[in-house]
């Protein structure tokens, strides 16, 4: 008897690990050396947006129209629960007021006008913390991204987001698109995933600024890198008094508002 049962099992075990390790290491190595970023991509350390409410006229919807067309955001207007929104106008009480002060004594002009709202791309995003699959994550440049491939539709992120920036696809979103007029360069989503503004990550990657900023002909929106003190947003923050939505919650929003 040259080999005991114990020795045989040891050898078999080690061989099995070895046989599994080869394809595993291949998969890990993958295509890393063959991929890289686009050379024209806009790069930044901390992307942010400034909304100049003074220049944002009531009734204008150009930014939202441009965004929702570019990203194939469906339109389900007949039922609030089915609504999908990336950028939209919100009443003062919903956008800024806190429960203790519901804007009772705010001047009428401010309290009655709509405010443009979108995902705040928080520096301390609660949605990222609660996501069980890391489908939503924060990039190094500050963009809070969704990986729709990983989203399981649990909606924890929607409960965690204090700004209501996230929408859930209760219906197949393709049913809410105009089949003759949609963007053929951008995917849709599927039923059962959460979606939100991506700060135009797909446009930053090819050297373009977000489409809402580009579409605004009143100059009310500015986008740039807060880490760069010469950027337009840094200048605007230096020269103006700005507010953020619900700063007391500690999410550190990166969308600033110039109110007056």
């Amino acid at each position: 008897m040259g080999i005991t049962k114990r020795d045989f099992l040891k050898i078999a075990g080690v061989s099995a690990i070895g046989a599994g390790a080869v394809p595993a290491s291949k998969a890990i190595a993958g295509f890393k050396d063959q991929v890289g970023p686009n050379k024209e991509a806009l790069t930044g350390e901390r992307w942010a947006m400034v909304v100049d409410v003074r220049k944002c006229p009531e009734g204008c919807d150009d930014c939202a129209k441009a965004c929702h067309f570019t990203h194939n955001v469906p339109e389900f207007t007949y039922n609030k629960r089915h609504e999908i929104k990336w950028i939209w106008h919100e009443k003062y009480v919903n956008a800024f007021a806190v429960p203790e002060n519901e804007g009772e004594y705010v001047d009428k002009a401010t309290a009655s006008r709509p405010f443009l709202v979108l995902c705040n791309h928080c520096d301390n995003p609660p949605c990222v913390r609660v996501c069980p699959t890391q489908a939503t994550f924060k990039r190094k440049d500050g963009v809070v991204m969704m990986d729709y491939h990983r989203c399981i539709g649990c909606r924890f992120c929607m409960a965690a987001c204090p700004y209501g920036s996230r929408s859930f696809n209760l219906k197949d979103p393709r049913l809410g698109l105009d089949h003759t007029h949609y963007n053929k360069d951008f995917p849709t989503r599927m039923k059962g995933v959460v979606e939100k503004c991506n700060f135009c990550a797909e446009r930053l990657a090819v050297g373009k600024i977000p489409v809402c900023v580009e579409a605004c002909k009143h100059g009310a929106l500015a986008f740039g890198d807060l880490a760069d003190e010469n950027s337009q947003v840094s200048k605007l923050l230096r020269e103006n008094y700005t507010v953020k939505r619900k700063p007391e919650l500690g999410t550190l929003p990166m969308v600033y508002y110039i109110v007056r």
Binding site: F31, Q34, V35, A41, D147
Partner: protein, 133 residues
């Protein structure tokens, strides 16, 4: 042995039913033709890697593209064939070459082969195949 006759008849019926798909094919002369991809014209005369590699590994390549683009922001792929650089996009690069943005490439190329192999990838739940929305 009790009820041998009944058991034998039952077994025979079971075997016949179980193998019925085979008999059905024999009876109707269902001939299986392997997918013919000749009608699926691509704009470029070669793919981003050699054909054999793409045939067997395109799904792994696309999975790694997905993670690279979405999670790392690396969107440019350099071919091992000739060093050419490609935008890593299923609809805008792959399908744009395989039939253009008309649905032609999807029907004659992707779906044709996937149907034959009875695979149903969920890429098209979100990514546009230009055939229908």
């Amino acid at each position: 042995m009790y009820d041998l006759g009944k058991v034998a008849v039952g077994l025979a019926v079971f075997v016949l039913l179980f193998t019925s798909p085979l008999w059905y094919n024999v009876a109707t002369g269902g001939k299986v033709t392997p997918p013919d991809l000749k009608s699926a014209k691509a704009k470029q005369d070669h793919c981003i890697e050699d054909t054999e590699y793409m045939k067997s590994n395109h799904m792994d390549l696309l999975n790694s593209w997905r993670d690279s683009v979405v999670r790392e922001g690396n969107r440019v792929y350099t071919s091992r064939l000739d060093g050419k650089r490609y935008n890593m996009s299923l609809s805008n690069t792959c399908l744009d070459c395989h039939g253009g943005k008309t649905g032609d490439g999807y029907v004659k190329f992707c779906r044709h082969c996937h149907n034959y192999n009875d695979v149903d990838p969920f890429c098209w739940d979100c990514h546009l195949n230009f055939e229908e929305l």
